[in-house]
Structures are given as C-alpha cells and as structure tokens.
C-alpha cells in the first residue's frame, strides 16, 4: 500500500545530542516537505525538496538540515538538539506542484522532546 512513514514516532533526548528523523514514502512522489507544528498552532514549512539532490529552506528558520539522496527518503537532522527544538515534526509528499496532484499527503509525525 502506498504510504508515507516516519520514525521514530516519539523521541525524548538530552540537550546536545545529534538526532535524525526519518521519513520515507512509497508513493513515488518527487516532492517532499518537512513541517514543524507546536500544539494548537499552524504548520510551518522548514524544508522542502523537488527531487533527488534538491533541497531548499522553508518559511520558518530552522537549525536542522535535510538530504535527498533517494526519491523515497527525506531525513531531517539536528546536529545538536536544544529544548527550543521540542515540537511535532511532520513529513509530507506530493506528486506535483500543478493540479491535479498538488495535494500533500502527510506522515504520522514525530513528537520530539529535548530535555
């Protein structure tokens, strides 16, 4: 079944640790996105990719980095986690930026807590 996966679902980690949040999709989509969402707040785009070896920063400044070596895989890395990074991180993908196919499909999210 075509889907989008995120691991881990929950992560509690200490300050200064390096972490990687995984995102994979089996839908064959070229475009992938990372959003950050605090409780009760809107989603903010932090990174996006239009294809292999393409990555761009989003609207919200983030200390994280991303890579896109394979179409289906779009991991997000924090080199040194801080309590301000505590949030929900959501990965999404879409077939196209044009209609039809421009709707984004989301993974289940990773809830990150940095102590």
């Amino acid at each position: 079944e075509a889907d989008i996966y995120q691991t881990p679902r929950y992560l509690v980690i200490g300050t200064g640790k390096k972490i990687t949040l995984e995102c994979s999709q089996t839908m064959g989509h070229d475009k992938m996105y990372w959003y950050q969402q605090d409780p009760g707040m809107e989603l903010h785009l932090i990174h996006y990719s239009y294809g292999v070896n393409s990555t761009e920063k989003g609207d919200l400044s983030s200390e994280s980095t991303v890579s896109r070596i394979r179409t289906e895989h779009f991991p997000l890395t924090l080199e040194s986690a801080r309590p301000s990074h505590t949030s929900q991180y959501l990965c999404a993908s879409s077939e196209s930026e044009w209609a039809p196919g421009n709707e984004q499909f989301f993974g289940p999210g990773t809830r990150l807590t940095v102590l």
Binding site: Y50, L90, S94, N102, E103, F105, P108
Partner: protein, 111 residues
Amino acid sequence: EDQVTQSPEALRLQEGESSSLNCSYTVSGLRGLFWYRQDPGKGPEFLFTLYSAGEEKEKERLKATLTKKESFLHITAPKPEDSATYLCAVQAKTSGSRLTFGEGTQLTVNP
C-alpha cells in the same frame, strides 16, 4: 504575503447539529485551497482540494465550497467521530508547491 485565517478557533456541536467552518484567505493568485482533518497526535489527513470560485466538493457529511476570498467547510448532521481539528491551506501560483496553513478549527461533537 499569503495569509490564512480560520474561524472559529473552537466549535462545540451536539450530534446532528449542522454547522460551518470558515477559512478566509489572501493570496497572490490561488492555485489551490486544501482542507485537512487532524486528529490529536497524528498527521493531517487530506480531505479536499478546491481550485476556483464556485467549486464545491463533498465527502460523506462534509461539503467544501470556495469563493474568491473564503472557503467554507459545511458539516451536516455531525457524529462524535467527526471531532478533530480541521485545517485549511492555500497554494499560491507564485510559491511552487509550498502551502500556507491556518491555525485550524477544533471541532468537538458531543453525543
């Protein structure tokens, strides 16, 4: 700058009590308006895409409509399982595939 404002922030309904959620938007050329449903602790679930004023889409008890300035999500005879946060997002013609989201409306349907 693209903006999306959703109202009300929270809405409580009794089962069977129909109502509407509002999404007002400002965008430099609309390519698409999207509605999502989000359950606590989960990722948003895609519901509808609307592309032009006058367009309507339906799915079970939900109906989405679009004008040049706003979109409505009508919920007919809601059930407790419709309780969730409903998110609206817009895609501008000048922003590629990037979306701008509203803060959402938290809907609670009591039995």
